[in-house]
Symmetry: C2
Subunit: 225 residues, 2 copies
């Protein structure tokens, strides 16, 4: 189910293994034996394991960020001048993610899981790489969010964006497992698209929730030493 080209076989195997085991827990030997290539091929073609990780991300993030730019362009064109709504902004992102052409049926899960890992496992080098390669669509998304929620203070918006990222990254990065659990429990099968359809209203509602709660309960008792 793949090109017989060594580079692509390595990328396919690495992507899948990274997605299901994380980065440190996946050795080059696992990757090369799954890809049926020689161990040295990774260092020959990519230079190092870290560079392979970057290549795995670049392969799906570059087309994704292009898709995203287009979606944002269309959104801004449609709204001409006026700021897009929160729902529109979130949907532009979601749609771009969900409609990305996939290499296979597991593509969308792997895509989500890798994005989640990028946030949670962030290995220093990965965070740096992602920041300097894909900062533009990210800050554009942030700008759209800001325009869509003018009623929020900067601090409120900052935290609520983190909450959104968390809900998304976490759910999507475990989407496969969560889908399985639900299927066993209630006999309902869910697609990633349906998760997204449930996630967006959740996020939008949270994002526009009434003000920060009055801390009704007392703060932590002044350290009883």
């Amino acid at each position: 189910m793949a090109q017989s080209d060594t580079v692509d076989r390595i990328l396919d195997a690495a992507e899948e293994l990274f997605a299901e085991r994380g980065f440190s827990e996946t050795s080059l030997r696992m990757i090369t034996s799954k890809a049926k290539v020689n161990l040295a091929a990774v260092n020959y073609h990519f230079g190092s394991k870290n560079a392979l990780i970057h290549a795995v991300f670049a392969r799906f993030l570059t087309p994704f960020s292009a898709t995203l730019e287009t979606a944002f362009d269309e959104l801004e064109a449609k709204c001409d001048g006026k700021p897009a709504t929160l729902n529109q902004t979130l949907w532009a992102l979601t749609e771009s993610a969900v409609r990305m052409p996939q290499r296979n049926e597991k593509g969308i899960s792997i895509f989500m899981r890798l994005l989640g890992l990028a946030y949670t496992q962030s290995q220093g080098h990965l965070r740096k790489f992602l920041e300097q390669e894909y900062s533009e669509p990210f800050s554009r998304f942030m700008r759209l969010l800001k325009e869509a929620t003018p009623e929020l203070s900067s601090v409120d918006r900052y935290w609520r964006i983190q909450f959104m990222l968390g809900a998304t990254a976490f759910t999507m990065s475990s989407s496969d497992a969560l889908i399985d659990i639900l299927e066993n429990k209630l006999g309902v099968h869910t697609t990633v698209q349906e998760i997204a359809a449930r996630l967006v209203p959740f996020l939008a509602a949270g994002m526009t929730a009434p003000d920060k709660m009055l801390v009704s309960a007392p703060a932590r008792p002044a350290s009883v030493a």
Copy 2:
């Protein structure tokens, strides 16, 4: 700042290193040299690295789950008979977490970060350990959530709970870094307690959001082979 007891020194060092680097990325040699104990002490006192991980979790999770049980007891007593509201339920959890007695000023961050890691890095053995040791307060929390949101279908509730867990685990597990970023960007300092005060209304609003959005956009085009 600790007992000179070897076991506790190992636990203190391990807890801190796990929280800031993850499990696989923290070696026993790092732990023992930080704790200023002999390398063999870990295997002598705990048996294995995995068992040490379990012990680190048990040390703070056991008192936490006791605190939680009490909080839930009080909540149910206060409501006698009637189901607790969503806000009450979320606050009971939050308060229990925030008010746990801490070993030091970094305690609450470490606590949160470890909880986050438990979810994201879950190492098989850890997930199994946590499930069989602490399933009771967890399912009790789930039951309270269910009673607090009778209007939701089981499937909706399931996914929204995952979204809540994600927002919480993700934010709290990076709370230190996120607080720093915000301080550099807007000059505002935040405490974990304040994050919680912002998180709860966000979660409550998302949890009680209007129905699942109609999937206005077409599903992914039937695989153009």
